[in-house]
C-alpha cells in the first residue's frame, strides 16, 4: 500500500509540473493544447542526452532547452504571427508525436543508468513540484511580474496602455512554460519510468491540459487535482494492489480519462461556474495585435 502511495505521488509530480506549466502560459493568455507534444520532446531528448552522456543533469537541461525552444516557437506563431493558438498547439502536438517516434526509435529500451536516489522513499521531484507550486502562487499573486502576467492574460490592451509590454510578458510566460513542460516530460522518461518506447506518454499531456481547467487557474487547486489524478492513474496501472480482480486491467486504464471528462463537465455547468466564478483568463487563446 505504501508502495502504491509513493508511486501515486510520483505520477502526481509529473501531472503537477506539466499542468502548472500550462497554467503559467494560460494565465498570460496563451493556450497551448500541445502539452503532450512538448512533453514528448522533453522526454525523448532528455532520455537520449542522458543515455549518451551518462549525466542526468545534462539530460534534464537538454529537456528544458528543447521545451523552452518549442515554447518559443509556439510563442512566435501565437504572439508575433497571431495565428490560431489551437491550430498551433495541434501542430506542436503532432510534430512532437511524429518526430519523437522517429528520432527516439533507435533508443528503444531501458535507460540503463543508476536510478535517481529517492528522499524518504519519494522521488526528489515531488519536492521540486511542491516548491514550484508555491513559487508560482507567490509570483502570480504577490509580485509585480505576476500582476503583469495576469493582466496580459485578462486584457492585453489594458495592460498595454498601462505601460506593459504584452508580447515580452507573453513570450516570457510561454517559454518558461515550455521549459517546465520539457522538464515534466524528462521526469517521466528519466525517473518515473526510465524506458523509451514509441508514443509512451499515452495522454498525460492532455490530462494535464484538462487539469488546468479543473484547477480554475489556481496553483493550489491544481496541486490537489494532480494528486487525485496521479492516484487514479496509478490505480489504473496496478488495480490489483487495491481492488484485486474487480475489472480487467484494460478497463481500469480507461478510468482516469473517463473521470477527466466527468470533472470537466461538472466544471462547465452553470451550477459550478455561478458558485465558483468564471476564473478563466478573459483573453485566453485570443491573438493580440499591439497598437503602439
Amino acid at each position: 500500500m505504501w508502495e502504491f502511495m509513493v508511486r501515486s505521488l510520483d505520477a502526481s509530480t509529473i501531472f503537477t509540473i506539466a499542468a502548472l506549466s500550462e497554467l503559467l502560459g494560460q494565465r498570460s493568455g496563451i493556450l497551448n493544447v500541445g502539452v503532450e507534444g512538448v512533453m514528448l520532446f522533453g522526454a525523448t531528448i532528455g532520455f537520449m542526452v542522458a543515455q549518451t552522456t551518462g549525466s542526468y543533469l545534462l539530460g534534464f537541461l537538454a529537456a528544458m532547452a528543447i521545451g523552452g525552444l518549442i515554447g518559443l516557437i509556439h510563442g512566435f506563431f501565437s504572439i508575433t504571427l497571431g495565428s490560431d493558438q489551437v491550430v498551433n498547439g495541434m501542430g506542436i502536438w503532432i510534430l512532437g508525436f511524429g518526430l519523437t517516434t522517429y528520432i527516439g526509435y533507435p533508443y528503444t529500451g531501458p535507460l540503463g543508468m543508476e536510478r535517481i536516489p529517492d528522499i524518504l522513499g519519494l522521488s526528489p521531484f515531488f519536492f521540486v513540484g511542491l516548491a514550484l507550486i508555491i513559487i508560482a502562487w507567490f509570483v502570480l499573486t504577490k509580485t509585480s511580474l505576476g500582476l503583469r502576467i495576469r493582466s496580459v492574460g485578462e486584457n492585453p490592451s489594458v495592460a498595454e496602455v498601462s505601460g506593459i509590454n504584452v508580447a515580452r510578458t507573453r513570450y516570457l510566460s510561454v517559454t518558461t512554460s515550455g521549459m517546465l513542460m520539457g522538464f515534466a516530460g524528462a521526469i517521466y522518461s528519466l525517473d518515473y519510468n526510465p524506458v523509451w518506447s514509441n508514443d509512451f506518454l499515452m495522454g498525460w499531456g492532455f490530462i494535464a491540459l484538462a487539469l488546468v481547467f479543473f484547477s480554475m487557474w489556481h496553483p493550489f487547486i491544481l496541486l490537489g487535482g494532480s494528486i487525485l489524478f496521479g492516484t487514479l492513474w496509478q490505480l489504473s496501472l496496478n488495480p490489483q494492489l487495491v481492488l484485486p480482480d474487480v475489472l480487467s486491467r484494460y478497463i481500469w486504464r480507461t478510468v482516469p480519462f473517463a473521470i477527466t471528462i466527468g470533472v470537466l463537465v461538472l466544471m462547465s455547468t452553470k451550477w459550478f461556474s455561478s458558485r465558483w466564478g468564471a476564473a478563466k483568463p478573459e483573453a485566453l487563446g485570443l491573438p493580440y495585435e499591439e497598437k503602439g
Binding site: 504577490k142 509580485t143 509585480s144 511580474l145 500582476l147 503583469r148 495576469r150 493582466s151 485578462e154 486584457n155 490592451s157 489594458v158 495592460a159 498595454e160 496602455v161 498601462s162 505601460g163 506593459i164 452553470k270 455561478s274 476564473a279 483568463p281 478573459e282 497598437k291 503602439g292
Partner: protein, 515 residues
C-alpha cells in the same frame, strides 16, 4: 520635465499643426489648440471628425505624421502611452481600460513604476485613500472591478491616472454611461481638480448640454479640422451643433400620431437572471400596442439588456410570461420568436447582430434561412436573398460595393443600417431596438430614427431601449425609466419631463400623484 510650479492659466499643452493620415484617410488636418492649467477645455466633434485619432495622439497611441506637441513649452514626442503617462498625461477611456477580474487597487497600480517587484499594497492603499479623500471619491479598494457600477469604474480610471501623477486629464465621453446624480458627483470632483491646477480635457460627441455645464472653452472638430474655438459663454447649443455638423440640426424628431391599434405584446411579471447569475429583471410588466413606441430609458446595466434578450427569445425568464398577439410564447425557441413576428436589433452590432466574415447577402440569410419564401425543402435560395440584399442596400443607403462584400468591412453606421434593413425587411409585428443609435454620427442617427418612425407608421409595435435621454423623450409615446431591474413607472410621452425621467433613472420612484 515637470516644472516646479504651475500657475493658473499657464499653457501646459500645445498642439501645432497636428496631421495624421491613415491609408486613404486624412484623420487630422493641421490641428492647433492650447490647454491651460486649471481649465476645462472640451473637444467637441461628431464620430469621424478625428477626435479619436487626436486623443490617441495626445496619449501616445498614435504618432502624428506632421506637427508638434509642446508640453510646458518643450517639444515632446510620445512613442507610446507610457511616455505620455510619464509626462503627466492621464486618460480616462470611454470603453473602460480596466481588468474586471482584478481588484480596484491592482488595477490602479498595474504598470506603476513604484508598484515594487513584490507588490506593496499597503503603501499604495494608503496613498490612493489620500487621493480619494482629497477629491471626494468613495470606493472600496479591495472590490473586484466587475462588481462595480459604470460610475465607480470611471472613478477607478480617474484614480489610476491621478495616482500616476497626471496633471492633464483626458476624459473620453465622461458622462455617457452615468446617471444624472453620478454626473453631478463627477463634476464636483473635477472642479476640485481644477483648483489644484489640473487641466481637464473632455472629448464629447453628443451631449451638448454637458459641454456647457462642464467646460470653459471648446474646440470643435469637423472633418479632421478645427472648425471653431469658442468660450462657452459666447455660444449656444444650436451654434455648437452647427459648427460640429456644418449645417443646422433638427433637435427633435417630428412627433407623429399614429392611431394606436390593439395590443401586440404583453410582458407579465418577468423575472430573469443575467450571465453572472445575478437577478437582473425583477417583476417587470407592460404592454406595447400597434403603432406605439414604448421607450425604456436607463443607464446601462440596469436590466435593459436582459429584458431585451428575454423579449427576443434569447434568454429564458425565471418567471413571468411573454405574450405576443394573445399567444403565450414564453417557452418558444428563439426561431419561433422570429417566425411569429418579433424583430430584434441587438446592441452588440459586431458580435451578435452580424457575422463579420460573412458577405452582406449571407448576413441577410441570418433572418431568411428559415423563411418559406427564400428556403424551400431545406435548400436556401441564395440567388433570391442576394437580390433582396442588393435592393435593401440601395433602399437603406448602405455604403458598400455590393452584396458580396464582407460585413466586417462596413463602418459602424453602415453596419447598423444593414442590420436595420435586414430586420425591418421582415416587417416585424414587434420591433425591439436596443441602443439603435449608440456610437453613430448625427447623420446615421437621424436615418435610423427616421426608419423607426416609418415602422411605427406601418403599425409595428416598437420597444426602444436607449441610454440617450433625448432620444427616448423625443421618439417615445410612453417612457419607462428603468433602474436596477425594475420600471420606476410608466409615463405618457407628453408628461415625460427631462428632470423627472432623469431622477427616475437614478432610482427615484415618484409618488403616484406626481405622475
Amino acid at each position: 520635465m515637470l516644472p516646479e510650479s504651475i500657475k493658473h492659466g499657464d499653457t501646459v499643452l500645445e498642439a501645432r499643426g497636428i496631421t495624421k493620415r491613415f491609408p486613404g484617410v486624412l484623420a487630422n488636418d493641421q490641428i492647433d489648440f492650447e490647454i491651460k492649467a486649471g481649465e476645462i477645455h472640451a473637444i467637441l466633434g461628431e464620430n469621424g471628425a478625428g477626435k479619436t485619432t487626436l486623443m490617441n495622439i495626445l496619449f501616445g497611441l498614435h504618432q502624428p505624421d506632421e506637427g508638434e506637441l509642446y508640453l510646458y513649452g518643450k517639444k515632446v514626442n510620445f512613442k507610446s502611452p507610457l511616455d505620455a503617462i510619464g509626462l503627466g498625461i492621464g486618460m480616462v477611456h470611454q470603453n473602460r481600460k480596466l481588468i474586471p477580474a482584478h481588484t480596484v487597487i491592482e488595477n490602479i497600480i498595474l504598470g506603476h513604476p513604484r508598484a515594487g517587484a513584490i507588490l506593496n499594497l499597503k503603501r499604495a492603499g494608503r496613498e490612493i485613500t489620500e487621493l480619494c479623500d482629497k477629491y471626494g471619491f468613495k470606493i472600496d479598494l479591495k472590490a473586484k472591478v466587475w462588481q462595480l457600477s459604470e460610475g465607480e469604474k470611471q472613478v477607478v480610471e480617474i484614480l489610476k491616472a491621478l495616482y500616476r501623477g497626471a496633471k492633464i486629464l483626458i476624459l473620453d465621453e465622461p458622462t455617457s454611461a452615468l446617471a444624472p446624480p453620478e454626473i453631478k458627483r463627477l463634476l464636483d470632483s473635477i472642479r476640485i481638480m481644477t483648483v489644484d491646477e489640473l487641466a481637464i480635457v473632455p472629448f464629447i460627441t453628443h451631449k451638448l448640454p454637458i459641454v456647457f455645464e462642464i467646460s470653459e472653452r471648446v474646440t470643435v472638430l469637423r472633418r479632421g479640422r478645427v472648425s471653431a474655438r469658442l468660450a462657452t459663454t459666447e455660444t449656444t447649443q444650436k451654434g455648437l451643433a452647427r459648427e460640429m455638423v456644418g449645417r443646422d440640426v433638427i433637435f427633435r424628431m417630428e412627433q407623429m400620431t399614429v392611431e394606436k391599434g390593439k395590443s401586440i405584446l404583453h410582458a407579465e411579471n418577468l423575472v430573469a437572471f443575467n450571465d453572472k447569475g445575478v437577478l437582473a429583471l425583477k417583476d417587470v410588466s407592460f404592454s406595447v400596442q400597434e403603432g406605439e413606441i414604448f421607450g425604456i430609458a436607463g443607464v446601462s446595466g440596469n436590466g435593459q439588456q436582459v429584458l431585451a434578450e428575454v423579449l427576443a427569445g434569447l434568454r429564458k425568464p425565471q418567471g413571468g410570461k411573454v405574450i405576443l398577439d394573445g399567444a403565450d410564447i414564453t417557452h418558444s425557441s428563439t426561431l419561433d420568436f422570429w417566425m411569429k413576428g418579433i424583430g430584434y436589433i441587438p446592441s452588440e452590432r459586431i458580435d451578435v447582430g452580424s457575422i463579420g466574415e460573412f458577405s452582406l447577402a449571407e448576413n441577410f440569410t441570418m433572418n431568411y434561412y428559415f423563411d418559406d419564401r427564400f428556403s424551400r425543402g431545406g435548400i436556401v435560395d441564395y440567388k433570391e436573398i442576394r437580390r433582396l440584399t442588393e435592393q435593401m442596400i440601395s433602399e437603406y443607403d448602405v455604403a458598400a460595393p455590393g452584396p458580396d462584400t464582407t460585413a466586417k468591412s462596413l463602418s459602424g453606421g453602415n453596419l447598423q443600417k444593414l442590420i436595420l434593413a435586414r430586420v425591418l425587411s421582415r416587417k416585424p409585428r414587434l420591433l425591439i431596438a436596443n441602443l439603435p443609435t449608440q456610437g453613430l454620427d448625427i447623420g446615421a442617427t437621424e436615418f435610423v430614427q427616421k426608419k423607426i418612425m416609418e415602422a411605427k407608421k406601418e403599425k409595428a409595435g416598437i420597444l426602444l431601449i436607449s441610454e440617450d435621454l433625448d432620444e427616448v423623450l423625443s421618439l417615445s409615446d410612453r417612457v419607462a425609466p428603468m433602474y436596477e431591474g425594475e420600471f420606476m413607472g410608466i409615463i405618457p410621452g407628453g408628461e415625460a419631463r427631462r428632470e423627472l425621467v432623469g431622477a427616475m433613472m437614478a432610482g427615484l420612484k415618484p409618488k403616484v400623484e406626481q405622475l
